[in-house]
C-alpha cells in the first residue's frame, strides 16, 4: 500500500466540531419528557443507616419519585468486579446503600424530578439517621484494624499475593549493598474534563432500553448492565457519544448506569444524571493508592541482583470493575528496562472507607516505574555513580529481545540505549551536569532527573485479560463509494477517527474525507472491547488492517470479474484496479458489487469485511525522560526548566496524535509529582473535595516539552505499533521526582514522597524540619 497519509501529521478530523462546541456529549442530548436524577450521598465514611425518611422529599415541587436501597436492592444486581484472583474477597456491592454506608459519597437515595434543580433541592429533604462507626483510613494499618468494614470477611484484607521469579533471598544476600526505602503512591483523582453522565430511555412497547453513557467500554457495559437489570442483552443499546476524557475512570460499570436504566424502565420516561464535579471527586474511581517498601540489591559495579517490593494496596470500600487487578500490573512491570535476575512482590490489598481505586492512566504501571526508577537513583547515590551509568549497566541489548523478565513477561522489542543516548544528546547531559555544579556554587538549587521506562500496552492476549483481549473492525464501501469503518474500540479523545481513516485511506487509495470512522454505539458497531490500556491502535487498528486486506481481496475478485481478467494479474494502486490498459476504480467496483448484476457466482453482493485481531503478546513501549528542576529558596516553588522526552511507541500512524498523548501524559505526571493528592482525614472525610483543594496543574505550571522519538517496530502486530496513551504518565513522574531529589541531595535528601509541594521543599531548604 502506498503511504500517503500514514506517518503524516494529519490534523484531527474530530477537532472542528469539538472546538466549535458542536460535539454532542451526554448532557447535550435532550429528549422529550426527560426527567432528572440527583443522588443523596453519605456524609459519613462508615456508618450504619438506622432510618431513611423520604416522605418530605416525595412531596417537594417537581419530584416524581424517590428510590432508596430498600426499593432497588432486590431488583438490580451487583455492581460487577471483573478481576479474578485466588482467594479474592468480593464484597456485596449494591447500587444504593442499604444497611451501611462505606465511604463519603456512597449513594443512598435517588431523587427523580422534572428538572435537575428540583431534584437537587429535594435531596436536602431526605432525613437519614446514621449510627457512626469508626473509619478505616490508614492503608498500612487496615489489615490489623479492629474495625472490619465488611464484617463477614473477618478482616480488611481483600487478597494477598506473592508474585515474581528467582531466589530473592539469595539475590539480596549476594549483593554488595541492599538499599531500602518506604515509598508512597498517593491517591489521585482522574478528573476527566467531562464528568460522568447517563441518559436512559425505555420504550415499553418495543421493550428496548437505550443508555447514553460517558464510557470507554460501551459493549462491555451493555453485557454487564443487561445482567444487572435482568433484561435481554439484545434489547439494550449502549451509546457512548462524545466522551470528554476518561483516563481509565470510565473503563468501568458504575451503580448509576444500571440505576438510571432501571428508573427509566419504572417510569417509562427518559431520565438523565450528570455528575457534578464534587460527586466526580468523591464517587468516580480514584487512581494509585499504594504504600510500599523497596529492597534492591546491587553489586559495587552497579549491577542489580534483585528487587523486593512489599506493598499495601488501597482498594477502597468496594471493588469496581478492575480494582483488585491494578496492583498485579505493578508486579508485572517491576523489572523496568533492566536485567534483574530475581524479583518478588508481596501484595496486601486492603479495604478502607474510601472510594474504590481502579485504572487511572497507567493503571499500576506508573507505580512500578516509580519504584524501579527511584530505586535505580538510590542505588546510584549509594554507589556514588552517575544515575545514567547505573541504568546503562543493567539494560538488555537490542539483540536480547524478546527479553524475558523475572516477572514472567517477554518484552517484544526494544533499544533502550538508543532512546537514552538520543535524550542525553538532546538535553546535552554532560553540559547539564557542569552547569549544575556551577549553579550550586552560586547557591542555586538545581537538579537533573532521568527516568528510563518501559511499559506494557496493547492489552492484550485474551488469556491475560478479564473480558477478551481482542478487537474488531468492519470496513464497508457503500454504493456511492464512500467508506465506513466500524471499530469496536471506543476512542474518546485519542483521535482514532483520524488515524484509522489514515490507515483505511492508504489501504484503499481513497480520499481521507471519504472515510467515516464510526464507534461507540452497540446497535451499529459489532461487539468490541473498548479503549484502554493503550490498545485501540495496536489491537483495534490491526483488526482494521486485517479487514482492509480482506476487503481488498474481495474487491480484487469483483474487479477481475468486471475486467474479465485473472485476479492475480490485477494491479491495485491509488484506488484503481488495472490490467492490460483496462482499469476500474474501487468506487465502481463497490457499486457493481451492490447492484450484483455482474458478479462472480460464488460471491455475495456488497463490499464489506469484518475481522478480529487478538495479539499473541503485549507490546512494550519505552523511552527516556530527562528533567531539570530548580527550587526557589524563598518560596520552595519548583520550576521545571528543561524537559526532554524521547519515546518509542513503535511505528507511528500520526506523529501529531502521538505528541498530543505524550503532552497530556506528562502534564498529568507533573500533577502527581508536584501538586495532586486526594486527602482523607482520620474520620474518612475527603478534604480535597473540589478543584480549589485538589490541585490539577494549570498551563502556566507546564514547561516547554522537547519531544522526539526512536522507532522500534513491534513484532506483535503487522502495523508495528506499540501504543502511547499512557507512556507520559508512566515515564515522567520518576524523572521529575529524581530531579528534585537530585537538587536536594546537598541537603542530605535521598528520597521524597509525592506530591512535592512548595511547603515540603521550603522546609527542607530552610531547615525548618
Amino acid at each position: 500500500m502506498a503511504e500517503k497519509y500514514v506517518g503524516q501529521r494529519v490534523k484531527r478530523t474530530e477537532d472542528p466540531r469539538l472546538i466549535q462546541g458542536l460535539g454532542h456529549y451526554v448532557d447535550d442530548i435532550k429528549l422529550a419528557d426527560m426527567l432528572h436524577v440527583a443522588f443523596l450521598r453519605s456524609m459519613y465514611a462508615h456508618a450504619r443507616i438506622t432510618s431513611i425518611d423520604t416522605s418530605e422529599a416525595l412531596h417537594a415541587p417537581g419530584v416524581v419519585a424517590v428510590y432508596t436501597g430498600q426499593d432497588v436492592s432486590s431488583k438490580i444486581g451487583q455492581v460487577p468486579c471483573g478481576a479474578a484472583l485466588p482467594d479474592l474477597k468480593v464484597p456485596d456491592h449494591r447500587v444504593l446503600a442499604t444497611d451501611k454506608v462505606y465511604f463519603v459519597g456512597h449513594p443512598i437515595a435517588a431523587v427523580v424530578a422534572t428538572d435537575r434543580y428540583a431534584a437537587r433541592d429535594a435531596i436536602d429533604l431526605i432525613i437519614v439517621d446514621y449510627e457512626e462507626l469508626p473509619a478505616v483510613i490508614d492503608v498500612e494499618g487496615a489489615a490489623s484494624n479492629s474495625t472490619v468494614i465488611h464484617e463477614h470477611f473477618g478482616d480488611n484484607i481483600a487478597y494477598k499475593l506473592t508474585a515474581g521469579e528467582g531466589d530473592i533471598e539469595a539475590a539480596l544476600a549476594s549483593a554488595d549493598h541492599v538499599v531500602k526505602q518506604r515509598l508512597v503512591h498517593q491517591r489521585l483523582a482522574p478528573i476527566a474534563m467531562e464528568p460522568r453522565g447517563v441518559l436512559a430511555r425505555y420504550l415499553p412497547g418495543e421493550k428496548e432500553l437505550t443508555l447514553w453513557s460517558s464510557t470507554q467500554i460501551p459493549h462491555l457495559m451493555r453485557t454487564q448492565v443487561a445482567i444487572m437489570l435482568g433484561i435481554p442483552e439484545n434489547k439494550l443499546r449502549v451509546i457512548a457519544p462524545e466522551v470528554g476524557g476518561g483516563f481509565g475512570s470510565k473503563l468501568n460499570v458504575y451503580a448509576e448506569e444500571a440505576l438510571l436504566g432501571w428508573i427509566a424502565m419504572q417510569l417509562a420516561r427518559p431520565v438523565k444524571w450528570i455528575e457534578t464535579r464534587r460527586e466526580n471527586i468523591q464517587a468516580t474511581i480514584h487512581g494509585r493508592g499504594q504504600v510500599g517498601y523497596i529492597e534492591i540489591g546491587c553489586k559495587n559495579d552497579g549491577t542489580i541482583t534483585g528487587l523486593r517490593y512489599n506493598v499495601f494496596a488501597d482498594m477502597g470500600a468496594y471493588h469496581q470493575l478492575l480494582t483488585p487487578a491494578i496492583p498485579t500490573l505493578t508486579g508485572l512491570m517491576l523489572s523496568g528496562c533492566y536485567k534483574i535476575p530475581a524479583i518478588q512482590m508481596n501484595t496486601t490489598a486492603v479495604f478502607t472507607n474510601k472510594m474504590a481505586t481502579d485504572a487511572y492512566r497507567g493503571a499500576g504501571r506508573p507505580e512500578a516505574t516509580h519504584v524501579i526508577e527511584r530505586a535505580m537513583d538510590m542505588v546510584a547515590a549509594k554507589l556514588k555513580m552517575d544515575p545514567v551509568e547505573v541504568r546503562r549497566r543493567n539494560f538488555p541489548t537490542p539483540e536480547e529481545f524478546p527479553f524475558k523478565t523475572a516477572t514472567g513477561l517477554f518484552y517484544d522489542s526494544g533499544n533502550y540505549v538508543g532512546a537514552l543516548d538520543k535524550a542525553l544528546e538532546m538535553a546535552d547531559y554532560s553540559k547539564l551536569r557542569k552547569d549544575q555544579a556551577a549553579a550550586r556554587k552560586d547557591g542555586k538549587i538545581i537538579g537533573v532527573g532521568v527516568s528510563t521506562y518501559v511499559e506494557i500496552c496493547a492489552i492484550g492476549p485474551s488469556a491475560a485479560t478479564p473480558a477478551g483481549g481482542w478487537e474488531s473492525a468492519t470496513v464497508r464501501v457503500e454504493p456511492t463509494g464512500k467508506v465506513t469503518v466500524l471499530t469496536g474500540a471506543s476512542p474518546h479523545g485519542q483521535g482514532q477517527e483520524t488515524s484509522f481513516a489514515q490507515i483505511a485511506a492508504d489501504a484503499l487509495g481513497v480520499d481521507l474525507n471519504d472515510i467515516a470512522v464510526v464507534h461507540g454505539d452497540t446497535a451499529i458497531v459489532q461487539y468490541g472491547i473498548g479503549t484502554f490500556g493503550s490498545r485501540a491502535t495496536a489491537v483495534g487498528g490491526t483488526a482494521l488492517v486485517l479487514a482492509l486486506e480482506e476487503l481488498t481481496k474481495k474487491a480484487t475478485r469483483f474487479a477481475a470479474h468486471l475486467l474479465e481478467a485473472e485476479p492475480e494479474s490485477l494491479q491495485f494502486e491509488d484506488g484503481k484496479f488495472s490490467t492490460d490498459g483496462k482499469s476500474v476504480s474501487i468506487q465502481e467496483v463497490a457499486l457493481a458489487a451492490h447492484l450484483a448484476r455482474n458478479i462472480p457466482a460464488d460471491m455475495d453482493p456488497g463490499l464489506s469485511a469484518t475481522r478480529f485481531f487478538e495479539p499473541k503478546n503485549f507490546t512494550f513501549p519505552f523511552g527516556t525522560h530527562i528533567v531539570v528542576s530548580e527550587i526557589d529558596r524563598d518560596t520552595g516553588d519548583v520550576k521545571l526548566t528543561k524537559y526532554v522526552a524521547v519515546d518509542d511507541c513503535g511505528k507511528v500512524i500520526n506523529p501529531m496524535l502521538v505528541e498530543g498523548q505524550i503532552h497530556g501524559g506528562i502534564v498529568q505526571s507533573i500533577g502527581q509529582a508536584l501538586y495532586e493528592e486526594l486527602v482523607y482525614d482520620d474520620q474518612g472525610q475527603l478534604v480535597t473535595g473540589t478543584l480549589m483543594d485538589y490541585a490539577v496543574p494549570k498551563a502556566a505550571m507546564i514547561p516547554w516539552l522537547e519531544l522526539d522519538r526512536t522507532e522500534t517496530p513491534s513484532p506483535v502486530n503487522p502495523l508495528g505499533v506499540k501504543g502511547v496513551g499512557e507512556a507520559g504518565t508512566i515515564g515522567a513522574t520518576p524523572a521529575i521526582v529524581n530531579s528534585i531529589v537530585d537538587a536536594l541531595s546537598p541537603f542530605g535528601i535521598t528520597h521524597l514522597d509525592m506530591p512535592l509541594r512548595p511547603e515540603l521543599l521550603w522546609k527542607i531548604v530552610n531547615n525548618a524540619g
Binding site: A45, I123, R278, V687, G689
Partner: protein
C-alpha cells in the same frame, strides 16, 4: 480541628457568665440561631442557620454544658447535623477578671463531615473566628444591658457597629 481564641468583654464576670448560660440570651447572640430550647438540665436542642462560603444550610443539634464552675469556667459539647454536613465538638470556656472586664478564653476540638468538610474545611477556622467575634460582641451588649431594659438586638450590622465602636474605644484606650 482546633478552634481557639480569646475575647475581652467590658462587663462584669458574673453578668457575662450568666449571659453565656442563659438560653434566651444565647439564642439572641449566636449568629443564625433560630431556636434554642432547654431539653433537660444544662442540655438544649438548637436550630442554627450557618455555613461557610456557598455551603449553607440548617443544622439541628444538641448542646450540653458540663463541669460548670460559676463564674469561672464550663465545658460545652455540641453535636449537630444538617444538609451541608455534620459537626461535633467540645470545648472549654474560661472567664477571668481583668481590670474590671472579663477575659474569655475558649479552646475546642471540632470535627466536621460531609460537604462542609470536602468543600469548606480550609475556610472553617476563619468562619468560626468571625462567628465567635459576632457572638461575643453580642454577649457584651447583653451583659452590659440594665435588667430593666428590653434586651438588645443583634442583627449583623448592629453587631458589626458595636464591634467597630469597641475596637475604636480599645484603640484609643491604648
Amino acid at each position: 480541628m482546633k478552634i481557639e481564641g480569646t475575647q475581652e468583654i467590658s462587663a462584669d464576670r458574673e453578668r457575662v457568665y450568666s449571659a453565656l448560660i442563659d438560653p434566651a440570651v444565647l439564642q439572641r447572640c449566636i449568629p443564625g440561631c433560630e431556636k434554642l430550647e432547654a431539653t433537660g438540665e444544662n442540655t438544649y436542642s438548637a436550630r442554627l442557620r450557618a455555613g461557610v462560603g456557598s455551603i449553607k444550610g440548617i443544622f439541628n443539634g444538641a448542646v450540653k454544658l458540663e463541669d460548670m464552675q460559676p463564674p469561672s469556667r464550663y465545658r460545652m459539647i455540641v453535636d449537630g447535623k444538617g444538609q451541608p454536613g455534620f459537626l461535633k465538638g467540645s470545648g472549654e470556656i474560661a472567664l477571668d477578671e481583668k481590670n474590671g472586664a472579663t477575659l474569655i478564653t475558649f479552646s475546642g476540638d471540632v470535627q466536621v463531615g460531609g460537604t462542609i468538610a470536602g468543600v469548606g474545611q480550609r475556610m472553617i477556622q476563619g468562619a468560626a473566628k468571625m462567628m465567635a467575634t459576632q457572638f461575643f460582641t453580642a454577649i457584651e451588649a447583653e451583659a452590659k444591658a440594665r435588667p430593666d431594659e428590653p434586651p438588645p438586638t443583634h442583627g449583623f450590622f448592629r453587631t458589626a457597629l458595636r464591634w467597630f465602636s469597641g475596637f475604636i474605644r480599645r484603640s484609643v484606650a491604648r
